[in-house]
Structure formats: C-alpha cells, structure tokens
C-alpha cells in the first residue's frame, strides 16, 4: 500500500524539516533564511532537471521571473489570496518552461544548452520591452503579502518576516516531499534512465521527449513558485529576476550544493546566500569567490557539497576510499 510517508519521502521530510527549523537559529536572520528557502525552491527544480534528468537549462531564472511577475500582477491588480498567487505562479512557470523545453529538446548537447540560453535572454528582453506589464527596469512595485487566514483564524502572521519564513519553509518542505516522491516514482526512474543513457531509454520503450517536457514543467513550476515567494518577500517583482545572472546563480547553487541530491538544493542555496551575505558586507566582490568555488567544485567535487559529505561519510565508515559516485539512486 502506498503510504504517503514511505522511506525516502520521510527521510527528506525529517532532514529538511530539521534543517528548516535550525536555519533561522543558525543564521540569526529571518530575512536571510527566507532568501535561502526561496532560492532553494528554484534550485529544487534545477536539480530535478540537471542532476536527475541530465538537462542543463539556463532558463530557470526566466521562470523564476515569470512567477514573480505573475504574483506581482495578481497582488497589485486583483489583491489575490495566497493560494491563488502560489498556484497561478506555479502554473505560469510550468507552462512557460514546458514550451521552452519542448522547443529546446529538439536539439542535443551544447545546442540544447544554447537554446535555453537564447530563451532566457528572450524573456529578459521581453520583460524590458513591455514596461506596462512588467514595470520595465523598475519592476513591479508594491507587491504586498496576502494574509494567510482561514476565516477569522490567521495561520501565520506573514506580514512579519518570522511569520513569512514559517510559511515559506513549510511550503518548501511540502514541495521537497513532493519532489522526493516524484523522484522515487516510475516517472522519476525514467528521468534517471534518460540522464544515464538516453538512447537506451528510448530503446526501452520510453518516449523521452514527453518525459523531458514534463520534467521541464515541474522545474518551471518550482521556479515560478519561488519567484512568487521572492516577489512577496521583497515587495517587488524585479527585472533582475529574469536576468541571465539569475539563471547562472541558480545553476551555481545547484552545482555547489550537489545537483543530484534533493538535499543539495537547500545546501547549495544556503551556502551561496550565506557566503554572499557575509562577504558582501566587507567585500563587495564576493562573486569572484563564488566563481572560484564553482570551478573548484566542478573540478574536484562533481557531487557538490552533499556529494563530498557522502563520500566522506562512506570513507569514514569503511576506512578506505569510497568508489567515486556521480550519484543517482540505487
């Protein structure tokens, strides 16, 4: 019987739950914790695409931005409730991502990557070119947080950062568990197969295009929701959300954390946000360090921080070097 809290999903729930509870205590800042969770949501999608399906998309930032704009418009124009905002931005991200994915997967390898890059640029220029909708360079301003209330009972006081963190963290937890479930489903196994050997996956009877597009849609939904959370957090749907740099940062968080692990999303996001926060106060050029770290990770720790930690644990357990592991599930 498929109990909703089976093995891997429970593990994810417990680990993430614990991490999310500790996070604000460790960082000492509700706003930094919120940033970490927001980006971790987007990175979750990037991990699904990159680490589990083997697709490197430079367009996650674009869908992050799309989600932010949708949330901004719904809040500003229609004063929509939280549920509507989250669902709508998730849907918008999913649809945009599915379209981009559908077109991009028509090519392989480097051409595929460049197609996603071209689309990301396209979204940026579209946002710039239609300031009536997006606010152009200045972004969509005045995005307020809707109250989370069931009748007269307020579930969480989202107007305060602490309350908003509780909300965002809970949402991230639920999303993580859902993604964990997806990874360990027959669908998720096909994604792994595509990552490992697309030709074989096709010869095994799977229409790989369909699976890839669905993976894109899921990743886009996650990015869109993350964008909505961001917009409501800072009160602004900024054009910088759709810049290429955003996609690059999401990818970097994914790689540094460990693209082929779900824990990597929180770890990568936490690391990058924390490092940039800490460094930017006394050295504005923290991106330099980030670039260096990225190079070091790719050269020496392809599994990211989580991969390195796992290797370390395996090595300590067995007392000898562990076999190199690019990841994947057993």
């Amino acid at each position: 019987m498929n109990h909703i809290l089976n093995g891997p999903v429970t593990r994810v729930a417990l680990c993430s739950g614990l991490a999310l509870v500790l996070l604000p205590l460790v960082t000492g800042s509700a706003s930094m914790s919120i940033e970490i969770v927001v980006f971790a949501t987007a990175v979750l999608g990037a991990n699904l695409l990159l680490g589990f399906t083997g697709l490197m998309s430079f367009a996650q930032g674009a869908f992050f931005g799309v989600g932010a704009y949708v949330a901004g418009l719904l809040r500003v124009e229609v004063d929509a409730g939280m549920l509507a905002v989250i669902v709508a931005s998730g849907l918008a991200g999913a649809v945009a991502s599915a379209v981009v994915g559908w077109i991009s997967i028509r090519r392989q390898g480097i051409y595929f990557v460049m197609l996603t890059l071209a689309f990301a640029q396209l979204f940026y220029f579209l946002a710039y070119a239609f300031p009536g909708i997006t606010g152009g360079e200045n972004g969509l301003q005045g995005v307020s947080r809707p109250s989370l209330a069931l009748g007269p009972f307020e579930i969480a006081p989202v107007t305060s950062n602490t309350g908003y963190y509780i909300f965002a963290a809970s949402l991230f937890l639920i999303l993580s568990m859902a993604v964990a479930r997806v990874i360990h489903s027959p669908f998720g196994q096909v994604l792994l197969a595509i990552r490992e050997n697309e030709r074989r996956a096709s010869a095994t009877g799977y229409d790989v295009r369909v699976f890839k597009i669905i993976a894109f849609a899921i990743a886009g939904a996650l990015a869109g929701i993350a964008g909505a959370l961001q917009a409501m957090f800072v009160g602004l749907a900024s054009i910088s959300n759709v810049e290429i740099l955003m996609s690059q940062e999401i990818l970097m968080m994914s790689i540094i954390g460990g693209a082929n692990s779900l824990a990597g999303a929180l770890v990568g996001s936490g690391f990058v946000v924390a490092v940039s926060s800490v460094l930017s106060t006394w050295w504005p050029r923290w991106l330099l360090l980030l670039g260096l770290i990225l190079m070091v990770v790719v050269l020496y720790f392809p599994g990211g921080l989580v991969g390195a930690a796992r290797s370390l644990v395996a090595r300590l357990k067995s007392g000898r070097p562990a076999p190199s592991s690019k990841g994947g599930l057993r």
Binding site: Y111, A118, L287, L288, G291, M295, L299
Partner: protein, 285 residues
C-alpha cells in the same frame, strides 16, 4: 537618409568587431569542441588593457598590437593551467568551469577599474571627420571597419592558405587524424585557444574608443558571439561574418527606434535557427 547611412556604417563596424569575437569562439568550438563561456572576458580584457595602456602613457597604435599579445599570453597561461583539464569532460562541465572563470575575470576587472563604464579616447590622428560630399563620418569608425575587414581577410588567408590553417580546419574534423600526422595536438590546441583570445582582444581594443570599457561587456559580447556563430553555422566563418554584420546592423539601425526590439529580434532569430536549421544558415556540422 544620411542618418540611415550613418547608422548602417556604424552597424557594419560593430558587426566586424562582433565577428572578431565570434571567429575566435568558432575556432575554439570547431577545433577543441570546447564551449568557452569565458570568451567574452578576453574581449573585455582587450578594452580594459587598452585603457590601462593609454593611462600608462602608451599610444593607441602600440596598444593595438601589444594588448592582443598580452591577452593571448594570458589565455595561453589559462589554457595550460586550467582549460586543458576540461577537454575530456562533458560539455556541461566545461560550460560551468568557464562560467566560473568568466565571473572571476569580470570581478577582478571590477576590483581594478571599478563598476562604472570608463571612456577611452580614440587616437589623435583618428579624431576627425571624413567627408564624402556632404556626408561626414568619423575617421575612427572608418578605421575600425577597414582594419577589421583587413584582419578578416588575413584570417581567411591564414585558414585557407597556410599549413597552420589547414591543420586547424582538419583538426576540427578529426583530431585523431591530425595527431597521426605527427602534429603536436597539445600545442595546436594551446595556440588555437590563445589565438582566438587575441582576436577577441583586438575587438576589445577597437571597441574601447566606441563604447568604453565596462565590466558587463563580456556577457553581452559572449551572447552576441554565440548567436552569430549559431546563426552563421558552427565552423562556418563566412556564415559567422554575415551573421555578425547582420546583428551589428540590426542593433545599430534599431538603436534610435526600439533598442530592445533589436535584441529581441536577434535572440528570437537565434532560437528559430537553432530549432529549424541547427547547422546555421550556411553551416555544415
């Protein structure tokens, strides 16, 4: 009418500079099958080193040959130390590493020169306006077009008529064959990488008096170069040239009407071509 001619000529000049960047990218991708996301950084370094050279009292003409050599040397060093480790890696990792490298170079430039765009003056001898009847055009821009055209011709000559060029072309078809011919492939790769960086740097030096030097020019140049190579076809220099000029013209002509529209069109065209004609307008593989 003259406004359009002016813009068109600007576009051609801009396009030729873009081609210098795109050509390098094409050489590296064609031969090394290496995707260099730090390529735009060499263009940027060309502009910044030119600025620095002028500040240190050198004249523009010296900078024109010295800076590309310095940038080429730097690229050679990077190739030996870092880049060659990635040849055996999947493209994905090459992209990530060069992404990081590009970021590092960009940030170093900001540390040294700040975040603001800095102006570079064209040399005294080229600060005038040349008249064709009633039509006046800045002599420096004319120089840019002429020099870039000449370099393009020299590049074509080098690729088609020299042994080195033949090796580069053959190598992009089959590295194994070239190695079997007794060529030191490692040296060839290093040279190709350094040469392409030098080309981009020439573009940077030429562009500096036109657009100044600023840290985000690397990203912009890289995007355009990729688009030019894709539209023209990977490995097809003539295609990249045509595409670069078209891009330059589009950007220039639309700069007064709808600047963002230019970029929109360019990237939409790139996406369309990647989908329908992945070998580019004129490409082979």
């Amino acid at each position: 009418m003259t406004v359009y001619l002016f813009q068109a000529l600007n576009g051609v000049g801009l396009g030729m500079i873009y081609f210098l960047i795109a050509a390098g990218l094409s050489i590296v991708f064609g031969l090394l099958h290496f995707v260099n996301f730090a390529h735009g950084a060499f263009y940027m370094l060309g502009a910044y080193f030119c600025l620095q050279a002028l500040r240190m009292g050198l004249d523009f003409w010296t900078a024109l040959w010295l800076v590309p050599l310095v940038v080429g040397g730097l690229a050679l060093l990077l190739e030996r130390v870092l880049v060659r480790r990635t040849y055996r890696m999947a493209h994905m990792y090459q992209i990530l590493i060069t992404l990081g490298l590009g970021l590092v170079i960009q940030e170093i430039c900001i540390i040294v020169w700040g975040t603001e765009a800095l102006n570079v003056s064209p040399p005294e001898s080229l600060s005038s306006v040349v008249f064709f009847g009633d039509f006046g055009y800045p002599s420096y821009r004319l120089f840019v077009i002429s020099l870039a055209t000449m370099l393009t011709f020299v590049l074509w000559l080098a690729l088609e008529k020299t042994r080195l060029g033949a090796l580069l072309r053959a190598g992009s078809q089959s590295v194994e064959m070239v190695a079997l011919l007794g060529v030191n492939v490692s040296v060839l790769f290093a040279f190709a990488f350094a040469f392409s960086a030098g080309l981009a740097a020439v573009g940077g030096v030429l562009a500096a008096p036109l657009r100044g030097a600023e840290p985000f020019m690397a990203q912009e140049a890289l995007s355009i170069a990729f688009v030019a190579v894709v539209i023209g076809g990977m490995g097809r220099y003539s295609g990249a040239l045509v595409a670069s000029i078209l891009i330059g013209l589009t950007q220039s002509l639309m700069s007064s009407l709808w600047p963002m529209g230019a970029n929109l069109m360019i990237f939409a065209a790139a996406a369309a071509i990647l989908v329908f004609r992945p070998n580019g307008l004129m490409g082979r593989v």
